[in-house]
């Protein structure tokens, strides 16, 4: 029984490294993005000023939004890499997993893995899909401002757009669900990075990464999640 596929020339270890690299970029991005988001608590002027800063990075040496687009392209490349490698690896995992003859399903292990983190760590594909869909909505809503993702959208009014968007309970709910997925995905993702780069060969490094994953994952998720909650409770308006 061999599980190699048409992309068999791509070694599993290399696909994993590509996922680790792009995943690390995403983790760093979520931290930076949250730091930006939290400026919403400093008021409309600060937040809009921050949005302007993102667009005018590199000006006047470079035209407006150049640096921003460099970042965006990098993130897009990471997204394409992450999703395509994940798809290839998923196919390999399913082929090698088990498919007993006769249509009998593998019995579920009884009495194992009931803790929350245990469930989170085997939900990378579903949490990944949630994050992908959420990001698509998020960009359509707050970056592009297109319907139906966005309702009223004024160009350049980042603060008002954000607040108006999160005043919609469905959007706030989606945001909170996405943050749960983010916490789960990041916590296991960082463990996986350690394993796929060989760093986790040292027990202390492995344990440190496992804690770091949970701290970063839940930290970013909580920081971000506070915003829809603050908008819904009218602390931010």
């Amino acid at each position: 029984m061999t599980i190699s596929d048409s992309a068999g020339a791509l070694k599993t270890a290399d696909l994993k490294l590509a996922m680790a690299a792009s995943g690390t970029v995403f983790s760093a991005f979520t931290v930076a993005h949250m730091a930006g988001n939290l400026q919403v608590y400093l008021g409309r002027d600060r937040f809009d000023g921050y949005a302007r800063f993102l667009r005018t990075m590199g000006v006047p040496v470079l035209p407006e939004s150049t640096v921003l687009w460099v970042f965006r392209s990098g993130l897009l490349a990471c997204a394409v890499t992450h999703v395509s490698c994940a798809s290839l690896l998923t196919v390999r995992a399913w082929r090698a997993g088990d498919r007993p003859a006769g249509g009998v399903r593998r019995s579920r292990p009884r009495g194992r893995r009931r803790r929350v983190w245990e469930i989170a760590k085997r939900s990378m594909r579903s949490t990944g899909v949630v994050l992908g869909l959420f990001t698509a909505h998020h960009i359509a809503d707050l970056t592009l401002g297109v319907r139906p993702a966005a309702t009223e959208h004024a160009k350049g009014a980042a603060y008002d757009n954000l607040v108006r968007s999160l005043q919609r309970p469905q959007v706030a709910g989606l945001y909170l669900a996405a943050m749960l997925a983010l916490a789960a995905h990041t916590s296991q993702g960082i463990v996986q990075v350690g394993n796929d780069t060989g760093l986790s060969g040292d027990r202390r490094v492995r344990e440190a990464l496992s804690i770091a994953g949970r701290v970063i994952g839940t930290g970013v998720a909580l920081g971000n999640a506070s915003i829809p909650l603050a908008v819904q409770t009218r602390l931010v308006r």
Binding site: I3, R92, A96, D98, P100, A101, G102, V104, S107
Partner: protein
């Protein structure tokens, strides 16, 4: 006097590698909490109705050291007790004292030969062979791995990373020079890629491994792979 009871055993019956299998339930009498999984199968075979062929299963030292045995007990390779081979798993640990489900180790790399017997040696051996020579076997011995294959069966991805990683953890010191290390570790990783799935660090393998091998061993695969790339450039 020993207190015994009757346990209803749902067991996988499959006449040969090509046949479609199914679960058949038998009542087995005279079972005590200390009865092991393999002893339970012995009792079952003694009590089979006339005309039924005995349930085949992999058997060996019954001391937890040869790695030959291995069945899936209630969905868990080897059985519910952590880090013990099937021959060291006791009825007292069953989730439900009256009922148990026994099936072969499940993985694409381990075809079922009949009933509970699987061919796990072949797939595991291709990896050891890729390390060429007795060094691979020596490395496994040094790691403490008994080549039982439970890690592969426990993994939802059918990955053998614990087995391969343990081999790669112990292989480098046995190599005579760096060229040999590079060459053989690369062969091992490539062979494993062809037969087994990718590792998602779920850690189910370390729960079942009778040798109690640690999660750290998983990383040896990436470490050697990266090392090889650095040096071939």
């Amino acid at each position: 006097m020993k207190i015994t009871r009757t346990v209803s055993v749902e067991v996988w019956r499959q006449t040969d590698a090509e046949a479609h299998g199914r679960f058949v339930t038998y009542d087995v009498q005279g079972v005590s909490p200390e009865t092991t999984v393999l002893e339970l199968l012995d009792l079952l075979n003694e009590q089979l109705p006339d005309g039924d062929s005995p349930v085949t299963f992999d058997d060996g030292c019954r001391e937890g050291s040869c790695g030959k045995c291995g069945v899936t007990v209630d969905g868990v390779p080897h059985g519910p007790e952590y880090n013990r081979a099937s021959c060291q798993q006791h009825v007292r640990a069953f989730r439900d004292g009256d009922r148990v489900r026994l099936e072969p180790l499940r993985a694409s790399a381990f075809p079922v030969l009949s009933d509970l017997t699987v061919d796990k040696k072949k797939a595991l051996r291709t990896v050891v062979k890729a390390s060429r020579g007795p060094a691979g076997l020596k490395a496994l011995t040094n790691a403490g791995c008994i080549s039982c294959g439970a890690c592969v069966a426990a993994c939802p991805n059918g990955s053998a990373q614990l087995f391969v990683g343990s081999l790669l953890t112990e292989l480098p010191p046995l190599m005579k020079d760096d060229d040999e290390r590079r060459d053989r570790t690369a062969q091992v990783i490539e062979t494993a890629d062809e037969t087994f799935g990718p590792c998602s660090t779920y850690g189910d393998c370390t729960e079942v491994c009778p040798a109690g091998l640690p999660l750290e061993n998983l990383s040896a695969v990436a470490r050697e792979h990266l090392r090889n790339q650095r040096q071939t450039k």
